[in-house]
């Protein structure tokens, strides 16, 4: 069965970017702090294993904003997997590489599920995550929780309805053996219960 999985790095206070993010500062003020753990992404340790799982996803769903801020990943996020970009307004130009623009959330989820078969699709960006969550199309959350309070910025969980979404913690991975405290992170995977 296919799985649509949010894969995002957040601070303990829930931010995916620091304050004042924009084209000149995609991660906002101080937001680079969130990605120090990725220094370990090619190691054999726990963060390396978790990162390898991310790269094993067979499709990417991204919001338009994240996609543009990331320079469209040059049309290839990883391994040439299909990239579905959720956008309100269809751009005029032809998308690069494996990118396809989609304006409807349910259609986007359907396309991604068809692309991954019994594998997983990775979701990037708070906007896309929230849209899929509201549409009931999310299956899992892989949260890389960085031990820092950013104090402000862009939240992963925002603009949601006051309806409980029940989760099950299916895995937690710590990085105790990493020497540099700046590279520590807690990888939490939650499965979203169907409503």
């Amino acid at each position: 069965m296919s799985s649509i999985r949010v894969d995002m790095t957040i601070s303990l206070d829930g931010y995916v970017a620091g304050p004042d993010d924009g084209p000149d500062a995609p991660l906002g003020a101080g937001g680079f702090r969130l990605f120090n753990w990725l220094d370990k992404r090619n190691d054999s340790g726990p963060s390396g294993e978790v990162f390898a799982e991310s790269l094993a996803t067979r499709a990417l769903i991204s919001g338009r904003r994240t996609y543009e801020l990331a320079g469209r990943w040059g049309g290839d996020h990883h391994n040439g997997v299909p990239i579905f970009v959720l956008t309100r307004k269809m751009p005029d130009e032809t998308p690069p590489g494996t990118v396809r623009y989609v304006t409807d959330v349910a259609e986007c989820a359907e396309l991604a599920r068809a692309a991954v078969g019994d594998g997983a699709a990775m979701v990037h960006g708070a906007g896309a995550a929230q849209a899929l969550l509201r549409a009931g199309e999310l299956d899992e959350l892989e949260l890389h929780v960085v031990p820092v309070l950013l104090g402000g910025g862009r939240r992963l969980f925002d603009h949601l309805a006051a309806e409980h979404v029940e989760l099950d913690l299916v895995r937690q991975v710590r990085t105790r053996e990493v020497d540099d405290p700046g590279q520590h992170v807690l990888h939490l995977r939650y499965r979203i219960r169907p409503s």
Partner: protein, 204 residues
């Protein structure tokens, strides 16, 4: 502070999306609409009706016991009022210091004392706890203690649920990063207990 001094530690139940109450919290519903979900872990395996201690032992009971072993409480006025002031006794008659902008005219109930300044409130609590840990409770009190560098640790009971709306724990912090260190992570029935040490400063 000597080596033997207790820690000032925030204890809060929080959803994965960072809420410590549902919407519309108030004196009539301290946890907001459907916010009782946040305390489900205290009842997951049964609960003692008198002590409110989770029965059946295990991680949740141990964390509860640690809370109840604290020697003083620091809380904010809102949390205090919404909880009915715990009838003047949060647990075991330990001193309760309530941070408030304006001290009420009527005398505080039971073991409660009103304080208008976070720094002196924490100093009083540390002294009163006599070497035991100090429990901080409520978002405003926690953020006030953090802002003056007087919060040592956070113990977050993270519930596997998204509430969507409500009152957030982390809100209104002054600009600037606060570095933390994960000290322990314990999984109990229906909850993940995360303990962080506050390191302060900025690393980026």
């Amino acid at each position: 502070m000597t080596e033997m001094a207790g820690k000032v530690r925030l204890y809060m139940s929080m959803s994965v999306d960072g809420f410590i109450t549902g919407p519309d919290d108030g004196p009539d519903q301290g946890l907001g609409v459907n916010g009782e979900r946040l305390h489900a872990w205290l009842r997951a395996g049964g609960v003692d009706p008198v002590s409110h201690r989770p029965t059946g032992g295990g991680v949740n009971a141990e964390v509860f016991d640690e809370m109840m072993a604290t020697g003083a409480v620091v809380t904010g006025r809102r949390t205090f009022d919404h909880a009915g002031g715990w009838a003047g006794d949060h647990h075991d008659g330990v001193p309760v210091f309530v941070l408030t902008r304006s001290v009420p005219d009527e005398p505080p109930p039971g073991h409660v004392r009103y304080v208008t300044d976070a720094r002196s409130g924490v100093a009083l609590a540390r002294e009163a706890a006599g070497g035991r840990d100090v429990m901080t409770h409520g978002a405003a009190a926690a953020m006030a203690c953090l802002a003056v560098g007087q919060l040592d640790e956070l113990e977050l009971h993270v519930l596997p649920v998204l509430l969507g709306q409500g009152r957030r724990l982390f809100d209104g912090l002054p600009p600037g990063q606060v570095e933390l260190e994960l000290l322990r992570s314990r999984e109990g029935p229906g909850v993940l207990h995360l303990r962080y040490r506050v390191l302060g400063g900025s690393r980026s």
